[in-house]
Every structure is written in C-alpha cells, then in structure tokens.
Amino acid sequence: MTPSGYFLEHLWLIPLFPLVTAALMLLIGRRLPRSAVSFFCVGSVFLSFVHAAGAVFQLLAVAPENRVYQQILFEWITPGAMPGPGGLVNFVADWGYLLDPLSCVMVLVVTGVGFLIHVYSIGYMGHEGGYYRFFGYMNLFMFSMLTLVLANNLLLLFVGWEGVGLCSYLLIGFYFLKKSAADAGKKAFIVNRIGDTGFLLGIFLIATTFGTVRFTSQMLSDPVAYAGILETLRAMVDQGRLAYGAPILTGIALLLFVGATGKSAQVPLYVWLPDAMEGPTPVSALIHAATMVTAGVYMVARMSAIYQLAPVAMDVVAIVGATTAIFAASMAVAQNDIKKVLAYSTISQLGYMFLALGVGAFSAGIFHLMTHSFFKALLFLGAGSVIHALSGEQDLRKMGGLWNTIPATSRPFLIATLAIAGIPPLAGFFSKDEILGHVFNRHNESLIMDRYLFLWAIGVVTAGITAFYMFRLFFQVFRGRSRVATELEEHIHESPKSMTVPLMILAFLSICGGWFALPVLWGENNTFGTFLEPALRGVKDEIGGVEVGHHTLFKEYLLMMASVGIATLGIWLAYRLYLQYPKLHSKVAAAWPRLHNLLINKYYVDEIYDALFVNRVKDLSTAFGVVDAKLIDGVGVDGAGWLARVISRISMWWDKWVIDGLVNLAGKITNGLSVPVRMFQTGVFSSYAVLILLGLAILLGYYGHHMHMIVRNLR
C-alpha cells in the first residue's frame, strides 16, 4: 500500500503557503495594517503546520517500509547530456518534494516551532518598524526551510539551503541601520558561501558519480527513468564498482560536510553564528537555533547512505563535531551577552549532533536535533522575553533577580536550562545520553583508549561545561541580587500572552520531547529510532552498519550516571561561583588571566581569520587593482602606446631624412620636368578647351578614314 491522501497530494502547498504570504508582504505589505500582516503570516505558517501534520499522519498510516511519498512538480534544470555511471545521461534536476520519516521530523519541527516563534514574534516585534518586512522575510525563510527539508533532490535542497542563507542574511541585517547588524549578515552569508562551494562541489561529484541528484526513486512511477542516488549507489555497490571506503564516496561525504560546517556553524566555519545574534531574537530562535543551523545535520543524515560507506569522512564528522562541541562550550563560559552565550551553546549542541552522526548514530543526531530545537528555541525566546522586559538590555552583568518579576518567562526558562543541562527526565537528557551512549558503544573495548572513548570523554566534559554555563546564565539572569540599571528597574514587565504562551508550549515539549525515544534499557522500544530507521538505513547493513546493542544494563546506567553526575557538578560549580559567592568567579578569572582573556576573546579566531584570509583577500584586491592599473594598463597598454611612440619617432626620423629625401628628390625631378608642361597649365579654362578641341581634331584626323564606315553603320 502506498501512502496517499489529500495532505500528501498537496505536499507542495506546505512551502507554498509561506511563499505566497511572503510575496504578499514584500509586494504590498507596507500598505497592510499590522493585524493583517500578523493574520496572513502566522496563518500561513499555521496552515503549513496543519498540512505538514496531516501529511505526516497520512504517511504514518502505511507500513513503515512504504513510508515514502514523492512528487515531482516539473523538470527544473535540464542542461543536457553528461557522463553518468552507465554512460551518457541527460542530467535533470526536478522541482519535487519528498516526504519520508526524516523529512517528517524536520517538517514538523520547522512548521511547529516556526509557528510558535511566529506567534511569539507578534508580541516581540509589535513595536518595531518594518513589521511587514520582518514577517515577509520570516515567511520567506519558512518557504526556503520547507523547500530544504522537503526537497527530493540535492539541488532543490541547495535552493532551500541558499534560500535560508539569504533569509538569514536579511533577518540578521534586519536592523540594517546598525552597521554591526549589516556586517554580521554579510559575514553570515559569505561564510556560508564558503561552505556552499564545498556543498556545490559535492553535488557535482554526486551528479557525475551517480548521474542524478535525486535522493531516491522510491514511490516514483518509473524508477528507471527517474534514477535516485540511493538506488544507484546500491546498484553500484552491488556491481562492485564502489566499495566501502571508496575514495570518491569519501570525497563526496567530505565536500558535503564542508557545506554542513558552514550552515551548521561547525569548526572552522562557526564564526558567523555568534555575530548573527545581531538579528531580532525570534530570528535567533527560529533560524539560528531551531531550524536553519540544523540543516547541515539534516543534510548529512539525508546522505547517510553515502556517509556509512565513507568511514574516514565519518571520523572527520565526529571529530569536528566533538571539537566544536567543547570548543564552543568553552567559549560560552566567558560570554556576558545573553544571546552570545546561547549562540555558543547552539554551536556546541550542533557539535553534539555531528558527533552523533559521525559515529553512525544518525537517529540519535536527529533526535537531539529535535529536542534541541525545542529547548533552544525556548531558551532564545525566553532570553528575548527577558530582553524585552529589560527594554533591550542583553548584558548578563546587568541582570539578576528576575525570577519572580517575570514568572511566566523564568519558569519555562528554568525547564529549558535543565533540559539542556541534561537533567532527567527532560528532553535533553535523553537525546544527549543517547548520543553519548552511541559514542561509547563504538569504543572497542579491547583497547584501553581509542578515538571513540576520547570522543566520549569530550562529550561528557562538554555536557558538564554546558550545565555550568547554562546555570551560570540562569543564575545571573534570574537569581541573586538585581543588577539591573535603576532607570530600567521600574519598567520591568512581563511579556504579553502572545509571547508567554509559546514559551509554555515549548516548555512542555522540552519536558516531554525526550519521551519519544526512551532508552531501551527502560524496557521501551526506541520509537523514534524505529520510525527513522527506514530513512536512515544504509545500502548494506553488513558494511559500516552501526553496531548497536552491545551495551549491558550496567554500562548503560553507568553512562547515565556519569553524564548526570557531571551535569550536576557543572550546576554546582555555577551555583558556587555565581550565586553562592558572586565575587568568586572574577577571582577565578583573575587567577588565570590568560585563559580568561583567551575565552573572552573567543580564542581570537575572528582576528586570526581576518589576518589570515579577509585582510589577505583585501590586500590581494588592492594588489590586483594596482596590477590592472600599473601592469596591464601601465606596462601593457601604455607600454604599447609608448612603444608605438618610440617607433613612430624612429620612423619619423627615417621618414624625414630618408623617405622624404627620396620623395623630395622625386619631387624635384618632377618639378624640373614640369617646367615645359606647365606652359599649358594656364588655369584659364578656354585654353584647356583649345587643347580638348585639338585633341578632338587629332583623333578625328587619325580615325577620319574610318568615318564612312561609321556613317554606314548609322542605320
């Protein structure tokens, strides 16, 4: 039985709703009242959500094996023939949508969280200028993101990929009057572009290797005509043309991962995300926490079949993920901007996800993606609410003691903080624990120390740091003595309902979101993993498959205790440093001034990048400009001119003395000869007439004897 139904057949409506309203906003939005803007934009996202949910339910109605729905709207890019795996193929990238378990998760997260954030934005942006523009961009983002997650081929995914990048650019630069905002937008776009080149090259490599960019040909009327990557890969593996660890697959996987590092802010391309906090807070929540930044994770998961065949790439993913996780977490410790802390936390959590992907625990990665989107969105929205309450103040050092002042914000915020710290039974605990468990399970127990153990250790340490800085944040904002500037103190107010209700819903999700995938040892089936399994299954189970299930109950508990313990340790440390002895943390900082400086300055990465790349490119630009002006124009063009002038001077000399001399000589000779001839040239025309007549007379005299012949021929 194949999936069908209204919602599936109208899958294309899901991205279309926001697109229509986005176009509406950007064309005539300025003339619409705010209420209409809110109605249209939030309504369209809601419609998308309803359609998405409907589609998911209709997909769930069929057997797990058949849970794929794919529709091709039209052929999009048809540039002609290219060599494919089996000869010449006509390369076609279509505009089509694919709904399988993986995209189900994504589409629900995107539309659901997106809807909540939209609702939140009504309140948050209520007093900002450019309301229509904000919602227009947001809806455009929704369209792009939905295109990304629903795309049935890599190229369309790339459309969404670039689209979300664009919207990110626009939304980061929403306060375009601020230079820092505009700069941050530009930085985000360009850094993303760097990743995109890798992605694009990966697409090329996929296209040339498989002759197609379509993910799968499942559920298409003619799977032969519409080849899919998955099927082709499987066929090629079957034929022995590609093997486990084939260099080309590694290449593809690495190139795609470059794209993922850009979009998902991994080392070394994470630098744009902290800056991106210049955008309005809902944007940070939606784009830079819940959805867009997870696109890289989604994409890697989507291409899991290839990654599973590329162990080197997997390792790279895992290592990069782990590095990012601890690196970003360490930077979060020293930040004083509430949003920056959250931004680094996001990077760190994304690192977690990649760690999961890198060890082959794709479903765990996606699971963490989902839970993270709940609690991180909640954190951002809560932070937004705090900022809103403090009339725009973002510095942690100027907050404190808000626990009871804004209860509707602070309670959910605590839940989210607990969730991200990994305290059971909140969502973060389950997802993080699953990841750590998978990492640990890859550990070859015959070795004392192998890379997986090391990665696991990093993960655990990161979990501790995470708990520490999150509670540092929490304590500094909500507990302790108020450090709020006095003139702001009296203006502190709870946010409107439109902002707090989404917080509560998200808090609920942060609590319960993890229960989809209760650990096996609790006697539960991993529902989430099972659901995703068909979509993430590799082409061959036996090769590169993830060895799951070697854990014992004991080990499982041990691991859990370890992670919970270290989280508790982090919380305790934060409590000590920031709540119990508020002066202590500065002493600690003073004790290690270098480390502190390093952390405060984010390891000087931006500066290093500036010095290494940005300024070099600028120098190069200046140099090339000089090359153009001096070398090509100066030496080449002007040189040619100069050469021409020199030659002309030489030839002038030659002309003057040699050629002209000869000419003059000839002229003088002619002049001399002309003296007798000149006699006839009187300048008086009658003398010429005489000559003409004379000539006539001579001619007639000469030919006269023919005259009778001429006359005879008169008839």
């Binding site: 040239q681 009187t682 300048g683 008086v684 025309f685 009658s686 003398s687 007439a689 005489v690 007549l693």
Partner: protein, 100 residues
C-alpha cells in the same frame, strides 16, 4: 523629307561656332552661352536622327540635354555671380584659380 546631311552640316556649323565662342571669348557669360549653343547643336543631331529613324528616343535625350543645359546654366551663372561678387570681373583669363 530633308536628307540628314543638311542637319548634320547645320549642327556641325553651330557646334564649331559654339566651340570658337568657348575658346576665344573672354567674357565668361558669353562662354557659357556658347556652351549652350554647342548643346543645342547636339540637340539638332539627336532630333534629326530621331526623325530619320522614327524613334522618339532621340527626342527624349534631347529633352534630357535641355534639362542638363538648364542645370548647367543655373550652376554656371551662380558661380559667375558669386565670382563677380568677390572679384568684380567676369573675364575668364582672370579666373585662373584652377592653376594653383
């Protein structure tokens, strides 16, 4: 019907008289008139032959010649007026701008 020789002789006479006028007279206007005379002599020939051959083509060309003569006279006289205005003379041996 007159034999054509008469016309040819007449034409020749007018032509030669015109030619004499062109080459001997000093007054440019008279020279121009002499040229007109020459053209006229040609016309006589054309019309006479046209009559002999019973073909109006000759007359067509005579007509063209008349038009041409008109054009020539107009331009010539224009030049003379311009010249007279500048030089106060119409004597052709004072018009030696051709010799440079």
């Amino acid at each position: 019907m007159m034999p054509i020789g008469y016309y040819l002789f007449l034409s020749m006479a007018l032509f030669l008289i015109g030619a004499i006028g062109v080459i001997t007279r000093r007054n440019v206007i008279v020279v121009l008139m002499s040229i007109e005379l020459i053209l006229n002599a040609v016309n006589i020939n054309l019309v006479a032959f046209s009559r002999i051959f019973g073909d109006v083509a000759g007359q067509v060309f005579a007509l063209f010649i008349i038009a041409d003569a008109a054009a020539e006279a107009v331009v010539g006289l224009g030049i003379i007026i311009a010249f007279f205005r500048n030089r106060e003379t119409v004597l052709e041996d004072e018009m030696d701008l051709l010799k440079w």
